[in-house]
């Protein structure tokens, strides 16, 4: 019994950790959508850029902290550049143009990265100070690094909350979500605001890429699966809502992780072993999309979205 409790606790923590990383992606996406009305498929490329910058800098300097700073800087710079050169021409265009242009950006970033770093994955090591496991209350062993990811993510979420609710920039962002023309008329430099918001979202994606890069391989194409999960998060949470992104992320993280472990075990009760493993993992792979479908049926505008 204690075995299952320990397993359950570990998997719940894994789910939360996964969810927190999704939140870093989804927060940027939902901010950009809320303020600029732009759908950015190339947000996954920023995640990848963060991971590659971290892996390259960690390889050169041996310092994880410098690597993290590099990831933040590289992703923010790439994001700002993307916004200034391409995306600001698309704010007034329809979604189809935005989708195609940002799809083109994915091609450029992915193949560009492949041309620079090659097709083989890079590796980013967990820093020594955070390697190994820690004993949590209740005697549960858990990876210190993953626990740190949860901590960092929660700190970022809290910082974002303060930024949006307590600062001048946050007021402008919230005003921008409500009425773009009005805040421009009130003298806010709107194009500067857009670039800042975009770079902020990009930095969050880059941070997520660097942090996740240490527990999986750093390779071209790593960003898009996370991007699509972040879309699922936003559909569940409601567009433009940071709170929705947070709740949606944790829900998706937990559903995906727990589904992958427990659905095969559940099918094992009434099926033979290999059939149970196969049916369980097949169903688990669909579980978050089923969650999304249920939310769509119950609340089409998401859990925290503005009802239209």
């Amino acid at each position: 019994m204690t075995m299952t409790t320990a397993l359950l606790a570990e998997q719940v923590l894994n789910g939360i950790q996964f969810g927190i990383m999704l939140f870093l992606m989804a927060a940027g996406l939902t901010l950009v959508f809320g303020v600029m009305g732009l759908i950015n498929l190339a947000h996954g490329s920023l995640f990848m850029i963060g991971a590659f910058a971290a892996a390259a800098v960690a390889g050169a300097t041996g310092s994880f902290a410098i690597a993290l700073v590099a990831a933040l800087a590289a992703a923010a710079a790439a994001g700002a550049l993307m916004e200034i050169l391409v995306l600001r021409r698309l704010y007034t265009r329809d979604h189809l143009d935005q989708v195609l242009a940002t799809f083109a950006l994915i091609l450029i970033f992915s193949e560009g990265t492949r041309a620079v770093f090659g097709s083989f994955p890079l590796f980013l090591n967990i820093p020594d100070a955070l390697s190994g496991t820690i004993i949590l209350p209740g005697g549960i062993q858990y990876s210190l690094y993953r626990l740190s990811l949860i901590g960092i993510g929660l700190l970022v979420a809290f910082g974002l909350y303060l930024l949006i609710t307590k600062t001048r920039l946050g007021i402008q962002v919230r005003a921008g979500e409500n009425d773009r023309e009005m805040i421009a008329a009130l003298g806010v430099d709107i194009s500067k605001l857009y670039t800042i918001v975009f770079a902020l979202g990009a930095a969050l994606a880059g941070l997520a890429g660097a942090l996740v890069g240490a527990i999986q391989s750093v390779q071209v194409g790593m960003g898009e699966p996370v991007l699509i999960l972040a879309f699922v998060v936003i559909v569940i949470g409601g567009i433009g809502s940071i709170k929705g992104a947070f709740v949606g992320s944790i829900l998706v993280g937990l559903t995906d992780t727990l589904g992958g472990i427990f659905l095969p075990m559940f099918f094992d009760v009434f099926m033979d072993k290999s059939a149970a493993a196969s049916a369980g993992s097949a169903l688990a792979s669909m579980s978050i999309y089923i969650l999304m479908a249920v939310v769509l049926i119950v609340r089409p505008s998401g859990l925290f979205g503005a009802r239209t």
Partner: protein
């Protein structure tokens, strides 16, 4: 409108003329390229129905492309091993007959499109894009984790499926089958545009409020269009699988959805033959740029950016001029 019809005829003439030339010059590889272009064109024509006419930006048409592919793969693999497919009480024999496979592919895609459409059309705009993208990814992961039909490795079919009276292993005969299907699909879409259904679909894109006022429910019109569109793209998926004699989860990947969308937009959104010229250009670029550089997708990316930023209306738009408000 006349000028566009002329351009369409020239385009289709090029598409059929090239493989015929290739046959006489004994270059079967070029026939295969043309076949691929024609198949992708069918997939694009399907997507164009919802994007162009309906204004619904689906980023999940790989779902139907893949379902069409797997319909072919599953039926043909059961025919190959002589083991019937058991679905609960239902026992279905496999099949290697193309017309049967096409019907199944379109039927399966129709059911999937009905479900996905019913869910995603509860929303609109950017939600619609994200949801269709997510469902495509669902099928992708499902086929990877579903080991019965090859899982991640996919499924090979050793002999191309058959068509009564023709030798499908002969490249030019297979091309002609695909080309005739493309013509049929184009003819269907052309008739649909002029029909009251097509007009209602166009109107729902422009102003769903007004459509409601005259007593038409936009949701039903759009859902019907989504189902038809999914069926056409599903048919293309079955043909694509037959061309390669192979299906794998990558048919469901988001890149496929993106590429089908690229054909539509490069060619010209809402233009009848836009996806045809888009698919042809894509294959030419893949062949020419792919021969120049391993990283040809970078050039494709820059080209797409230029088209979005400066050449709205795509290639047919450039050639035929702006579409007139009254056709």
């Amino acid at each position: 409108m006349k000028r566009e019809s002329l351009i369409n005829l020239i385009l289709l003439g090029l598409l059929v003329g090239f493989p015929v030339w290739a046959m006489f010059s004994d270059e079967p590889f070029f026939i295969t390229l043309a076949t691929k272009a024609a198949i992708l064109a069918i997939a694009g024509v399907g997507l164009n129905l919802v994007i162009g006419q309906g204004g619904l930006v689906s980023f999940g048409h790989a779902s139907f492309f893949g379902l069409g592919g797997y319909s072919m793969g599953i039926l043909a693999s059961h025919a190959q091993t002589y083991e019937p497919l058991v679905l609960g009480p239902l026992v279905i024999d496999g099949s290697q007959s193309m017309p049967i496979i096409w019907l199944v592919a379109m039927g399966v895609s129709a059911v999937a499109a009905l479900l996905i459409g019913a869910l995603s059309l509860r929303t609109s705009g950017v939600y619609f894009i994200m949801i269709t993208l997510a469902f495509g990814q669902m099928f992708y992961y499902f086929t990877i984790s579903w080991s019965a039909y090859g899982g991640e490795d996919g499924l090979s079919i050793y002999v191309r499926n058959t068509f009564p009276g023709l030798n499908t292993l002969d490249p030019i005969q297979f091309f002609m089958i695909v080309f005739v299907l493309l013509l049929l699909v184009l003819g269907f879409c052309a008739r649909l545009r002029g029909s009251s259904f097509g007009l209602a679909l166009n109107a729902a894109r422009q102003s769903s409020e007004r459509v409601k006022t005259v007593g038409i429910e936009p949701f039903r019109i759009q859902l019907a269009a989504f189902v038809l569109s999914g069926m056409i793209t599903g048919l293309a998926g079955a043909l694509f699988a037959d061309l390669n004699r192979f299906v794998s989860p990558s048919m469901f990947s988001w890149q496929i959805s993106g590429e089908i969308m690229v054909f539509v937009i490069m060619g010209g959104v809402a233009r009848l033959c836009g996806p045809v010229v888009g698919a042809m250009l894509f294959i030419v670029l893949e062949h020419v740029l792919g021969g120049l550089s391993e990283f040809w997708h970078i050039y494709l990316g820059f080209l797409l950016l230029l088209i979005v930023l400066f050449a709205r209306g795509g290639i047919v738009g450039l050639l035929a001029g702006r579409e007139k408000a009254h056709e």
